[in-house]
Every structure is written in C-alpha cells, then in structure tokens.
C-alpha cells in the first residue's frame, strides 16, 4: 500500500507537540537544576509553533485523512487553536509556582504537553477509536498531573478519586461505543450516521448506547450527577494541575460531545436531547447552589465549573447549528475565564503558601490594583455581567434554547445564573472592600505573567465588546 504524504499535513501541529514533548523529556535528563527554565522556554516555543502550524494547515472545507480516522474541518481548526492558546497561558502561570516548590522539572511539561496532544487528537477525530485514544491520552496525563506533588497526601487522594471515576467514565463510554458499533457496524462517524439514518430511531440498541455515551460525556465534563470527582480533585490537586485540568480539557470534552452526538448520531437528537436537559438543569442548579456554601475558592470554582457545564449543555441540546455555535463560543470563553481565575490563585501563592481560601483574596486591590481589576473582570464574566464576554456567551445559549421553544429551560437557566452571581460578586467584595491580611506580602510577579494575565483579562472585555469575530468563526464551524 502506498502512503500519501498529504496525510501528514493536517497532523503537523500534533507532530510539533510530540517532538517538543520528546525533546523536553530527553533534554531534562541532562539539564542542571539551575537550567531547568529551558524546559519552560522549549515548551512555549513548541506550543507557539503548533499554533502557527494550525493556522497554516487550517482553513477550507472539511477533509478526511488516514482512511477516515482523522478529520480537519473548521471546528477542529478553531478548537485546536483555542486549546493551544489556553495551554500557553497555563504554562506561563504555572511556572513560578513550580519553581518555588522545586517542581520545575521536565516531567510536568511532558505530561502537560501530552495532555494537550490528547486534546488535539480528540478534536480532530473522525471515529470512535481515535476519539477514545485521544481521550485516554489526555486523561492519563491529567491523572498523573494531579498526583504530581508526590509528597502531598491530598494530591494522591484526589488523583486516586479522579483516576477511579475517570476510568469508570471511560469504561461506560466504551460500552456505549460497543453498542453503537454493534448496531451500525462501523466506528467511523460518517458511516455510523448513515446507518443510523437508515435504521431510524426505533433501534433500542442505539438508544441504549447513547445513554452510555452521554454518561461518559457527563463524567468527562463533570456534569451532575457525574460530578462527584470535580470538587475533590480541584481542592486536592496541586493548583497548576487544576489550572490545566479546568481549562483546555473542557474544550476537548466539548469536541467529544459534538463529534459523537452531532457528527455520528445527529438523527437521534430527540433521544439525547432529553438526557442532556436533565444533566443541564441538575448541573446549573446544584453547581450554583452548592458553590455559595464554599469557603475554599478552588472548591467554589469547581462548583462554578459544574454550573457552566450546564450552560454548555443548553447549547448542545438545542440541536440547531445556532445552538452548537453558541455552546462552542461558551466553551472557549469558559476555558479563558477559568485559566484566568486559577492564574490569579497561582499569582497569589508564594513559597510555602497556597492561596486556597476565599479570605486569601481579601484586599487584593490594595496589594495590586491591576491584578484585582483582572480578577474582577473574570468574576464579572463568569457571573455573566455585561459588557464582559460571559454575558454574550450566556445570551447566545439562551437564545438558542428559546428558539427551540423551550422557554421554561431558559428561565430556569436565568434563575440559577442570578443565584450564581452572588458568589462571584462576593469574591469582588473581598477584593475591593476588605483589608488585606497583615502578613500579606507584596505580589511579586514576572513581567511575562503580568503580560499574560493582562491579555487574559482584557480578552474577556474585548470579546464582550466585539464578540462578532469569535462568534462568526464558531458559526462557520457548523
């Protein structure tokens, strides 16, 4: 059999990430302790090259490669770009924390890069097999990252919970895939879609399989009632690992849901819509209500994640192109907000101290007004206050839900997001209206971190004022 080298073109970003990871892995063995910063530089260069390559090979209509295992379409281009950009921010924020704790080692970057690689594979998968392998690559790297601080017993416990529940979720997903394969005879999305359209929705095996797929998606997103791991992992894991975990994987999970439910099983929309409605309402409700009671900010952000996942599901369950575009917009925006929020926590941490309680944010305005403003922007955006982009994102998914005549669902969403606004605004109250603790030292950050955080925060404002650019790219993907 002959091989068409054109197949390699669309995976150039993946190849770049893999080479970077291998390079860091080998180079780290020969680096002296004071030179470990080189790992960081190489990682960032690799990510930037991958962003460039994504742009270079992207664009144009959907094309299928590797005998149907890989697809390159506008959605994969956009999501790849988003994942890579968010990852650049992640690594920039994580570095000072790692350095302070003697953990600036190559393995962190290798595991992080391989997680990114897994996500890239997921978003451009055109079959259940590739999708599942990408998911496992990403998940295994994240389990190891949560356990990265070997001497922390809470980290080990969090990793264990994450691993056991994540493996359970993967297993259920795989069981669902086996059902779909049994009913349609293919693991590639296009033939599955064709077979489903032919057999109609009467096939019970397909519906049974979809139930397991949705459970798997719920686990990976952390939607209620499959959310149990989220707060414990966010609280117990080291903050840089949680930073990685909470941002880009959500984009990959969105790709997981869209590839399976839309590319493969769009004809069965009435069946999975009902399941997603339940997940969405429960997630928005429980996430927002329980977040109010949290005093640990990582736990609060965990429940906030759960509520945002509910909103993402709102867009997905609409089943319209508009809904998918809105959900995609929401997911990307959420990843940017989340990376910023955990980035601020890392900035507040210092040697021997981790910012974890809400009180640690007290008087941030007196300590550093600029970071306080950025955190306020992030919190306003998460709460959905105009003119930040969080408002636009919520508005778009609500519009999609209203368009399919599910007004009650939109009202439920609005109700819970008003409740949710309380705990975001409480953070802002801590930042601006409380005095800092007496022993709080001045915030010392590198100019790189400051620049990244400024970009991060201002992006939320800019996207809120001019959402058309990102939105039109999202709409073009469907």
């Amino acid at each position: 059999m002959s091989f068409d080298a054109a197949n390699l073109l669309p995976i150039l970003p993946e190849i770049a990430i893999l080479i970077t990871a291998s390079l860091v892995l080998i180079l780290d063995l020969y680096l002296k302790d004071q030179d470990k910063g080189l790992n960081h530089s190489i990682t960032l260069i690799g990510l930037v090259i991958a962003i460039g390559l994504t742009g270079a090979v992207g664009g144009g209509d959907a094309q299928v490669f590797f005998d149907g295992n890989l697809i390159r379409d506008p959605m994969s281009d956009l999501l790849k770009g988003a994942i890579l950009i968010v990852s650049v921010l992640t690594f920039i924020y994580a570095r000072p924390w790692l350095q302070d704790r003697g953990m600036l080692v190559g393995e962190f970057y290798v595991l992080g890069l391989l997680a990114v690689l897994g996500m890239l594979i997921m978003v451009s998968a055109n079959g259940f097999l590739t999708l599942y392998l990408g998911l496992e690559l990403q998940a295994l790297a994240l389990y190891a990252l949560v356990a990265f601080d070997r001497d922390s017993s809470t980290g080990a416990e969090a990793a264990m919970k994450y691993f056991v529940l994540g493996a359970l979720g993967s297993g259920l997903l795989l069981y669902g895939v086996s059902m779909i394969y049994g009913a349609t005879g293919s693991i590639e999305f296009a033939p599955v879609a064709a077979a489903v359209a032919e057999q109609g929705i009467s096939n019970k095996v397909l519906v049974f399989g979809i139930a397991f797929l949705v459970i798997g998606i719920g686990f990976k997103f952390g939607a209620v009632p499959f959310h149990m791991w989220v707060p414990d992992v966010y609280e117990g894991g080291p903050t840089p690992a949680v930073l990685i975990l909470s941002s880009a994987p959500k984009i990959a999970a969105f790709a997981l849901a869209v590839r399976m439910l839309v590319d493969g099983l769009h004809t069965l929309h009435p069946d999975w819509q009902g399941m997603l409605v339940i997940l969405a309402v429960l997630s928005m409700g429980l996430g927002n209500l329980v977040a109010i009671a949290q005093s640990n900010i990582k736990r609060m952000l965990a429940y906030s994640t759960i509520s945002h996942v509910g909103f993402i599901f709102l867009g997905l369950l609409a089943g319209s192109e508009q809904g998918f575009a809105a959900a995609m917009f929401y997911t990307i925006v959420y990843a940017v907000m989340s990376v910023g929020a955990f980035g601020i926590l890392l900035i507040l941490s210092r040697q021997g101290f981790d910012a974890e309680r809400l009180e640690d944010l007290k008087g941030l305005n007196d300590r550093d007004a600029w970071y306080a403003a950025m955190m306020a922007l992030i919190m306003f955006s998460m709460a959905g206050v105009p003119p930040t982009v969080g408002f636009m994102a919520k508005l778009l998914v609500l519009e999609a839900v209203v368009r399919i005549d599910m007004l009650w669902l939109a009202l439920v969403a609005v109700f819970f997001s008003i409740i949710g606004a309380f705990y975001y605004l409480r953070v802002i109250k801590f930042i601006y209206f409380d005095k800092p603790a007496d022993d709080a030292p001045a915030l010392l950050t590198s100019s790189g971190v400051r620049f990244a955080m400024s970009l991060n925060g201002l992006a939320l404002l800019a996207l809120g004022l001019f959402p058309a650019a990102l939105l039109s790219v999202c709409q073009a993907a469907f």
């Binding site: 295992n69 295994l140 070997r150 049994g182 049974f208």
Partner: protein, 210 residues
C-alpha cells in the same frame, strides 16, 4: 457440536471464577481466580476465531498484568474485613440495582437485538487463515494513526509511572557489579604512594607501600 461443548465448559468456568474473584476473603486467591477467568476467556476468544487476541490476553494479561495485580495486592496489605464492613447493609439496594441493570442489559443485548437473525453465524474459516496476519494488514494500513497514538500512550505510561514511583534512596548500601568489573588492575586496586626514604629502619615491610 464439540465447539459448543467446549464453549459451555469454558463459559461456566469463567462465570464461576468471576464469582470467586469477588467472594474470596484472601485477595491473593481473588487474583488467582482472575487469572483463571482470563485464561478461559482467552479460550472463548479463540473459539470466536480471534486467535491473536486470545494469545495476547494470555501473554499480556495473564503473563504481565496479573503479576502486577499480585504485586499491588502484596504492596497494599489489604484488610478485607474493614472493606466489607458495610457489605450486608448495602447488599439489598446494591443487589436491586445490579438486578435491574442485568435485566436491562439482557433485554438489549439478548436475542431480540443480537440474535441469529440479525447476526447470522459466520462461516468457519479455513485452516490457512491467520487472524494475526489479518490484524496486521489492517493495523498497519487503515489504522496506522491510532497505532501511533497507542505508542504515545505507552510513552506517557512510562513517564507517569517513573515520575510517580521512582525515588532516589541515597541511604541504601548496594554493590554495583558494573563498577566492580570496571576496576582496572593498576591504579584502582593498588595505589602506590611515593615516600621519602628514611634511614632509620633498615628493614622495610612489604605491606607499607599501601
């Protein structure tokens, strides 16, 4: 007919072994029963004409993964009495859920959907057909992309396992045979120290050169 008989024997042993896995008090016995369950499932796969998978199941799972399981069981020193503390109280609810799930799965996977009308019995393959070769032909042409991803997953497993469990132990005393072998006859074994000659002692002991 003979195939059917073998199938039922293997299936019964698999089910019995699986039940033993979850009911034994001694975790080591559980692991050994799991090995038995894997061996008989390998037989079932061979009956399905998936010979390569059957062999890999024995080679990788029985040969390696179960050894790892045994290590882990030995490492953790599990006290099953504490794990089983809530067993009786939780049994009714757990049993009910398990029964419902079993019935559901049976309804879906049973003869109604996956019976002989939907999936007729395949023709038995001839003696010259090699399942391993067929797999190779597919894996290294159509599924080459997933195969390379599998390599990356294995790489990740190496990195993660080493990062999470490898610790330096500077306090352990051990002998490195490689270093012993590398010792050269001259300077490493015997060190000659030049000293100024002393007049006082007329007789020089040979051992003093050390």
């Amino acid at each position: 007919m003979a195939e059917k008989l073998i199938f039922y024997i293997l299936a019964v042993i698999t089910l019995w072994a699986s039940v033993m896995v979850i009911t034994r008090k001694n975790p080591v016995h559980s692991v050994l029963f799991l090995v038995l369950a894997f061996v008989t499932s390998a037989g079932l796969w061979v009956l399905l004409e998936a010979e390569f998978l059957g062999i890999v199941l024995i080679l990788v799972y029985v040969g390696a993964v179960m050894v790892l399981f045994l290590f882990v069981v030995m490492m953790l020193d599990i006290d099953l009495a504490t794990i089983r503390a809530g067993f009786v109280q939780n049994l009714p609810l757990a049993g009910l859920i398990a029964a419902i799930m079993a019935v559901e799965i049976l309804l879906i996977v049973g003869p109604g959907n996956f019976g002989l009308d939907a999936f007729p019995k395949p023709e038995p393959l001839g003696a010259e057909v090699s399942n391993t070769r067929e797999l190779g032909l597919l894996l290294y042409s159509v599924y080459i992309y997933p195969v390379e991803i599998a390599a990356v997953i294995l790489l990740l497993a190496i990195v993660a396992a080493i990062r999470l469990t490898l610790r330096r132990r500077p306090d352990t005393k051990f002998i490195d045979p490689a270093q012993q072998v590398r010792v050269r006859k001259g300077p490493d074994r015997v060190r000659l120290v030049k000293m100024a000659a002393e007049d006082v002692a007329p007789v020089v002991d040979k051992g003093d050169a050390q």
